[in-house]
Amino acid sequence: MANIEVDGKSYETDEEGYLINLTDWNTEVAKYIATTESVDMTEQHWEVINFLREYFEEYQIAPAVRVLTKAIGKKLGAEKGTSEYLYGLFPYGPGKQACKIAGLPKPTGCV
């Protein structure tokens, strides 16, 4: 168990930095987690983050990378549904980094 501090408010995370309470998430928290991951948030990054949050809202899981890649391709266009594109945005893995920034649990099936 750990804590992060954003705008004077404290949020609980697990030892890897994932938010404990999914309802704690907001864009300021997302920006803060992004800095801890050395990710510079651009419009393209937000697009993936928002996609992940919508996916979670609908299916109650964080998708595995393979599933995310395919689903992004369907929703945002084939040129974005590739691992090159997603790893370009999130070098340490879209599953791991993007889910953390999106305030979701680690993807199921991700070890």
Binding site: E58, Y59, Q60, I61, P63, A64, R66, V67, K70, A71, T108, G109
Partner: protein, 121 residues
């Protein structure tokens, strides 16, 4: 490919009362990453896992029923439900939250016999 095995997950427990349904779902999602031939069977009280309209706010347990609809994204497309189990619970195919193939008890037995690995939950 010769190393693809036929995996069958047999779900026979109602959701929430025990942890089996959720555990099975998680194992299925993980197995899906290994490109095997995966079938899911819902029979006996397991058919309740797919009942539409689950609202778990009152019992403060995560409602994992929407995740069954994500199975398609994981290329898990073989979902079988036993007819007799539905009937004896007053349920029909329309009560289920995903598209499934309904089989008779005898057909289910035959399908089970064709598997390489059967995991029961």
């Amino acid at each position: 490919m010769s190393d693809v095995k036929k995996f069958m997950f047999v779900n026979r427990k109602a959701p929430y009362g025990t942890i089996y349904a959720l555990e099975s779902l998680e194992v299925v999602l993980i197995t899906a990453a290994f490109d095997q031939d995966v079938s899911l069977v819902f029979m006996d009280d397991g058919v309740y896992q797919l009942k539409k309209g689950q609202q778990t706010k009152g019992i403060e347990i995560k409602n994992f029923s929407p995740t069954y609809r994500a199975l398609e994204d994981y290329d898990v497309e073989k979902l079988y439900v036993e007819q007799e189990s539905l009937t004896s619970r007053g349920l029909t195919e329309d009560d289920l939250l995903v598209g499934v193939t309904v089989l008779s008890r005898a057909e289910m037995g035959a399908l089970m016999d064709q598997q390489d690995v059967v995991l029961s939950f």
